[in-house]
Structures are given as structure tokens and as C-alpha cells.
């Protein structure tokens, strides 16, 4: 079973700093969720279906994309496939951090639902496995709750707060991700892969469908050398 021992250890490990770090980013999820609710209702989705979407899909970008394509008169199959391409990056995320989610199979299966960009970045930035697990669940849980509350409020017309861009919230996501990725960039192999991958993604974004640029960034792995990573971290 999804054990009490795991839950207690996560609770114990989650100190004030951990909560503060997670909530600083998760707060934006409620406002973006509200804009999803508002846009989906405006596109003709009933309120209950907006809420179900955020609960069962729980992947912001793909939700916007599916609703956008359907609202523009696109077919449901095309809408779902385009949204799934956008979510394909979660597969390598799971391969990279999946072992840290839980000690048992059921915990890993349930925990998969809250695998998102943000908790993947939090976990990759953390060296201590116990703390990484706490970050995974606390960040995943906070984003899940706030994203869904935001959707509910936005769907009921609570989107009168204004444009998220006016508050600079669109800068919060890349800023948080960049801060979390920074420690990993001390490794030279990682820097090589990241720079080539990032350049490819930037160059092809105007040319290919959404989601594909990020996947093409994996070409950057071709420049990873065969030397053990531990030796590469030694400063030159």
C-alpha cells in the first residue's frame, strides 16, 4: 500500500524553506489555472468539464492546446494528438526521477499523475534522496490543488483579476526553472547537451508544431562524452 511510513517521512522532511520554495512557484499555478477555466468556458466548455479536465489531465500546456484546437474548429483526434506530443517530455522525466517517487509500486503509479516540469526540476536540483522525495510530493500536491482551485474560480468567471502578464507571472515559470537548473550546469557534459539542445529548440520553434522543439533538444545528448560524469565536474 501507499505507506504511512512514506507519508510521515515526507511530512517530517518538508521544512519551512521547502514549503516556501514550492509555494513561490505554485502560487502562479492558481492564476494560470484561472485563465484556463475562463478560456475553456469562453470556448464553449461547460464548467464541470473544465474542472474534470484539470483534475484528470493536470498538464496545463496540453489543456490550453486541446481547447484551443477544438475552439478553432479542429477535429478531436488532432486536438488530442497535438496535446499528447506536448506531454511526451514527461516520459524521459519519469525515467530520470521515477525511482525517487516512492519505495513501492502503487506509490509510484499514483505519484505518476503529479509528475510535472516543476517537481522534476526540484528533484533534479536536490542531492539528498529523502528531501528530493518530499519535494516531489509537496510540489506535485501543491500544484495539483492550486491548479484545480484556479480552474474552478476561472470557470465561474473569477478571471476578472486581469491579465497574468500584467503581474509578470509569465516570467515566474522560466525564472524558477532556470534557478533550479543552474546547479546542474556545473557538469561540463550537461552544459554541452543543454546548450546544443537549447539552441536547436530556439531555432525550430517558429517552424514546427508546439512540443516538438523541446523533444528535438534531445539531439543535444549526442555531444555527451563517454567519460564518467564525476570526473567532468572537477573545475578546469
Amino acid at each position: 500500500m501507499f505507506s504511512m511510513k512514506n507519508m510521515r517521512s515526507i511530512w517530517r522532511t518538508a521544512d519551512a524553506r521547502l514549503w516556501r520554495d514550492v509555494l513561490a512557484v505554485a502560487a502562479t499555478a492558481s492564476l494560470v489555472g484561472a485563465s484556463f477555466g475562463a478560456i475553456a468556458v469562453a470556448a464553449g466548455m461547460p464548467v464541470w468539464l473544465c474542472c474534470v479536465t484539470s483534475l484528470v489531465v493536470f498538464a496545463g500546456g496540453s489543456q490550453f492546446m486541446m481547447v484551443g484546437i477544438l475552439a478553432a474548429g479542429g477535429g478531436p483526434v488532432a486536438a488530442v494528438l497535438a496535446a499528447l506530443v506536448l506531454n511526451a517530455r514527461h516520459l524521459p522525466f519519469g525515467l530520470a526521477i521515477g525511482h525517487l517517487i516512492s519505495d513501492n509500486r502503487l506509490g509510484r503509479l499514483l505519484g505518476s499523475h503529479v509528475l510535472i516540469d516543476e517537481n522534476t526540476a526540484f528533484v533534479l536540483a536536490e542531492r539528498d534522496p529523502e528531501r528530493a522525495r518530499a519535494l516531489y510530493w509537496v510540489a506535485g500536491g501543491c500544484f495539483f490543488v492550486l491548479w484545480n482551485l484556479g480552474t474552478l474560480v476561472g470557470a465561474y468567471g473569477g478571471d476578472q483579476l486581469g491579465d497574468p502578464a500584467a503581474f509578470g507571472l509569465d516570467a515566474a515559470f522560466p525564472a524558477a526553472m532556470f534557478a533550479l537548473l543552474l546547479p546542474a550546469l556545473r557538469d561540463r557534459n550537461t552544459v554541452r547537451a543543454v546548450l546544443l539542445g537549447g539552441a536547436i529548440a530556439l531555432a525550430v520553434t517558429p517552424l514546427v508544431p508546439a512540443g516538438v522543439p523541446v523533444l528535438l533538444a534531445l539531439v543535444g545528448l549526442l555531444v555527451v562524452r563517454r567519460t564518467p560524469a564525476t570526473k567532468e565536474t572537477v573545475p578546469a
Binding site: 516556501r20 520554495d21 509555494l23 513561490a24 502562479t28 466548455m45 484528470v56 489531465v57 496540453s62 486541446m66 477544438l70 478531436p76 486536438a79 488530442v80 496535446a83 499528447l84 506531454n87 516520459l91 524521459p92 522525466f93 519519469g94 525515467l95 530520470a96 521515477g98 525511482h99 509500486r105 505519484g111 505518476s112 499523475h113 509528475l115 516540469d117 522534476t120 533534479l124 500584467a166 509578470g168 516570467a171 515566474a172 522560466p174 525564472a175 524558477a176 526553472m177 532556470f178 534557478a179 533550479l180 537548473l181 543552474l182 557538469d187 547537451a193 543543454v194 539542445g197 537549447g198 529548440a201 530556439l202 522543439p213 523541446v214 523533444l215 534531445l218 545528448l221 563517454r226 564518467p228
Partner: protein
């Protein structure tokens, strides 16, 4: 709008998310494979970050406010400013620049 596309997207997304952790459960990866997985995830997240900094929507320029805010946040993170402050500073910078009329 029907529920079927929503359920299809939910099922597909959950499958994509569950595959990784289930494989890590059953297969013992070599040291090198583990390192490569971490580099792959970092590369994907970095590509996501940089495209989310420069573009909005499908390939439209996001404007200078966001880019300057993210670069400033990167500088603060490099100077070891606490994470929560970095995030707040980024949002405040972008908001302020827009208030001043920058795109």
C-alpha cells in the same frame, strides 16, 4: 464539447507519465544510463525554459520584459539569492518593465 477528447488526453498523458517510473521499478540501469537520463531531463527542461522565455503562443516573440526579467533572475540565482525571492523578483521585474511601457 464532449468528454471523450478529455478522457483520451487524460489516459494518454497518464500512460506517458507512468511509463518512466514503472521502468525504473523493474530494470536496473547502469551508472552511465542513469547519468544520461538526468542529462536528458535537464536538457528538456532547459529547452522548455528558454523557449518559454523567448516565445509566447506558437512562435511569437514574447517581448523584452520577460527576457530581461528571466536574465535578471538568473543573475540573482547565480549570486545565491534564496529561490523564493528569485521567483518574486522575476515577476516584479517583468511587471515593472511593462508598467514603464516596454513590450
Amino acid at each position: 464539447m464532449s468528454i471523450w477528447p478529455v478522457l483520451a488526453l487524460a489516459g494518454g498523458t497518464f500512460a506517458i507519465r507512468a511509463v518512466g517510473p514503472q521502468i525504473r521499478d523493474r530494470v536496473r540501469l547502469s551508472e552511465r544510463a542513469t547519468v544520461l537520463m538526468a542529462i536528458a531531463a535537464t536538457t528538456l527542461l532547459f529547452a522548455l525554459t528558454i523557449t518559454a522565455t523567448v516565445y509566447k503562443g506558437v512562435g511569437d516573440f514574447a517581448g523584452w520584459s520577460r527576457i530581461i526579467a528571466v536574465v535578471f533572475a538568473g543573475f540573482l540565482a547565480w549570486r545565491k539569492v534564496p529561490f523564493a525571492l528569485v521567483v518574486i523578483a522575476a515577476a516584479a521585474t517583468a511587471a515593472l518593465l511593462r508598467l514603464l511601457g516596454l513590450s
